[in-house]
Symmetry: D2
Subunit: 320 residues, 4 copies
């Protein structure tokens, strides 16, 4: 890996420029890399993370399959069918219409390209079909690292709440970090609590139906700006996860003239190779952090070992 001489990745301003004013992390981990910034999650990170386990409090971070009702983006529920192997005595089950990205999720690096046929590390859509950037590359490593939790719910509430298009800035994240009294270290996973799912849990059916449509959804999230890209890169985190439907403020701007900054996924996934997690259930973890004042935890996650997959359930635990 090309670096600054001290083992850490280069600074954003030292990355090569690419189109649209973005900078590129391609080839930092080699021509054949399909892992991206999770390469920064080294064995040393697992040791560091295990050292954070004090009370043995375990926080599952995956939503139940029926929490989002109806599912967002019109995906439809997964259909689970119970199969009776021996009546009254032995059961199996099988799932159909199972979208690994319909609930608490990881986006594989194959999910969004920087631009047409320009996926992370220079891959084409055909390369993705051939197995580049897919979720099984993460499954083959597993993820055990330190999580740093930033509570942005207060800032979001002041500016309209998690069901509105509040754009969080680097200054907002820094303020939360300072309030938590925590440093971010290379290879951490940054956990951003916006309060979206806590708010969703309070909604009546009519409102849930309404925001299940892509066009009607509004959600708080990080801003789609070069400044945010630079801020996140320079933290040298392996991943960023959140409780909102997208990491960024929703909706994005897909017009060509807004490219690439209309939708920061294009830079974060397509150029940086950043692991992005969305719709994670963070409330229990955040309440515990508020109670004990410790905004860090061991994070353990097993991305789905689906050959060629584009996404995965979060399959994640925080342990304190």
């Amino acid at each position: 890996m090309a670096d600054r001489g001290d083992g850490a990745p280069p600074r954003y301003r030292d990355l090569p420029e690419t189109d649209g004013g973005a900078r590129s992390g391609w080839h930092l981990f080699g021509e054949d890399d399909s892992v991206g910034l999770l390469n920064l999650v080294t064995p040393a990170k697992a040791v560091q993370a295990a050292g954070l386990v004090r009370r043995g409090a375990v926080f599952p971070l995956d939503l139940a399959s029926d929490f989002l009702d109806p599912p967002l983006f019109g995906r439809g529920f997964a259909r689970r069918t119970t199969l009776v192997t021996r009546p009254g005595a032995a059961l199996d089950d099988v799932h159909d219409n199972f979208y690994p990205q319909s609930g608490s999720q990881w986006d594989a690096l194959a999910h969004v390209a920087f631009d047409r046929d320009r996926f992370y590390n220079g891959r084409t859509a055909a390369d993705v079909d051939g197995g580049a950037n897919t979720i099984d590359h993460w499954a083959a490593r597993g993820i055990v690292t330190r999580a740093v939790v930033l509570d942005l719910a207060g800032a979001v509430d002041e500016r309209g709440g998690p069901g509105t298009a509040v754009a969080l800035t680097p200054a907002d994240l820094e303020a939360a970090r300072e309030a938590a009294g925590v440093e971010v270290t290379t290879g951490d996973v940054l956990v951003l609590h916006t309060g979206f799912l806590d708010w969703y849990a309070t909604l009546g059916r009519a409102e849930r139906v309404r925001i299940s449509h892509r066009d009607a959804l509004r959600a708080a999230g990080i801003e789609h700006t070069p400044e945010m890209a630079e801020y996140l890169w320079d933290l040298h985190v392996g991943g960023v996860v959140t409780d909102a439907p997208a990491l960024e403020v929703w909706p994005p701007d897909h017009r060509r003239e807004a490219w690439p900054w209309g939708f920061l996924h294009q830079v974060l996934i397509g150029q940086f190779g950043l692991a992005i997690g969305e719709l994670w259930w963070l409330r229990d973890l955040v309440e515990d952090c508020r109670a004990d004042g410790r905004w860090e935890a061991m994070l353990s996650s097993t991305p789905m070992n689906a050959r060629g997959g584009i996404g995965s359930p979060a399959n994640a635990l925080a342990v304190k």
Copy 2:
């Protein structure tokens, strides 16, 4: 929980007797319990487990989705469909025919009953339909505990190999434990390596097709006996996992006259509430244990948060 006065569960011989000469763990954790022996996986176990992380070596324990080809028991492959959201630029995917028990898996306590309409803790099939004993009860806790690894591959090989019906006895397990120089403590997960998947990986297609049929399959595993039930109970483990298709030697004996000892699942799941994991990929972990002589690890697993589900992928990591 009723216990022996020292916080540990009762001994097998002190459990109430039930039909067929079996003993019952029902109601040990209360009338409403759907968790079973994973109740023994307490926060203290997570702390103990984290203390085992020395080098930060992470071992993903889930098979890739295409490892078993064809899938066992005629289940058919999961079908993963890539969905093109924006051509060449944004992809999603969706899975159909996804059997959570087709690869590396957990069996929920709803999987097999002691007898018709006698599921763990006295539940009927209707209770299971209503949400008793299902996988989401485990998902709501997560699993972080100490794993103890027993290498039985040598014993299996001496007696015919993992593709034959080698029945492992308590003495075999004890011998492996002593060879490893390790103690089993309450709330551990016991990890039994038979070599089945290592052997499977060497098979040609014709042989893999042949054993994919239920009737043709033969596999090593623990014996279907009261002695094995007593041995496993008295270890007071939270779960037992293996690399073979069933925890027990295959095939079981489903004839009525053989009940309940013809198929130990009926006692282990239906009466004990034991968490059973099957088809876990153990080779990398076992090779590491052989190399460093340490047969224990932190085990982390996130059962699938599927409301009402009967099973789950293992979603498991060992960390040393």
Copy 3:
């Protein structure tokens, strides 16, 4: 069957009244009937229909699986997976997410109730689960009868076009019938051409995406009125099919105060037991009728023999 003494069903005004000012066809074909007005499609109708075949021109009436793109009502495409049995030499396939009502379709009598737990012929939702009113009852008969085609596209175009909420009246249908110079006889299937699919075929992607959302869709169709119910009943047809997403003008009015006339399905299916077909591809047939001046044909259809099913592809041909 209770009738007027001449073998035909009673007139609408002679049917018993039920709630909301509607009249009821329940029990006209017996307490156990799950077939409804398709009972009027007798063997004599098949003979009559066969007599209409002059040139042997066959008109398939089912849309291709990719015609509606994206599918309406957010259902998602069916996913067809090709399975390679022997590479390059033998293929199979399998479908997931297959909504039998996503394209050209029949609604079974289990599709919509008159009111909560009041399905056709007095059935509850539990009765439907037990097999009442389901599609297999029609599959067990097949449908071969005379089709009468009414071309309403001109009337629709004059009043806003098929993509607007044009409500067609009995007078509109009568005018089309007279223009066609055709009589409707007991047991016919009435075929109503609004031009919706012809218009849909001209739309660009953005517009197709827009109207795929339930709330944004507008479509011409018959009015939701007692007069239309009476008109259709008194024709004594076995079914009514159309090329629009619903037989009736869309959207319906689901407010309680509008019940039952806010959504005529509730009366037509729930009280009459009328076979309703939607999204049938009628353009080729209608163009042929325009050319030869004959607005009748043999209609042949095989509803899907799915045990307990709620709907079916049209599986229909017209032959002239």
Copy 4:
């Protein structure tokens, strides 16, 4: 179409020879044809067929979805899920794991190749992926033609019954034809009743489970011989359908040295472009033929309009 000068296709002995001693029907209907011998089902055939409708007796020929229990060849049941749109008042449904060839079915010309990458009319597997020889080509025509019914159940019973590997010869078919007193004309569909499904309906569960395995299945059918190929070609039928799992006696012989005559599908589909139907429910139709002595009917079928599909339910009716 190249022909003998009288509008009929060439005789088998006049077809060009190809490998393995087979003769080829490729390009008889043009280089771009994906329809095959169903080209012989002309409008004149629909007129002829309609003329056979005397009593209006309709015979649905599709099995119910739960008739084959368990499904043959280990395919698993289709899973039909009822979706509650409005509780107690409006239902939809959706199917997963729906194999169009698991019950009464048509094999598209893409189903089996003559040899590797030699599908009907010279198409490769890639051509099939691109839409050649797929079921939608038949759906776009529909099928209305004369059916000729041959009752072979007696001959099968004499030689071991439909659950044994009875190989039917051209002489057997000729004897059945003569007994029926019927001529086969160009473009007919030949309907062969072996009694397989009638026998299947009598089996207990254990036997049905046993024969659901590919290796254990035995079934009567036409012999895999050049003589049978010549006989069927020279009838100039558009299709051949049967009530057995394969048109031919089962099992076929897939060894390379047996090619192409080890599995007549390879010649009938791959070289002739013959429409083959299997597992059709023929008992009701055959009993009617026995009763009235008329062994012909109008056949109407709508192959599934699935873009790129490899098979279809039969979606078929016979009308007399």
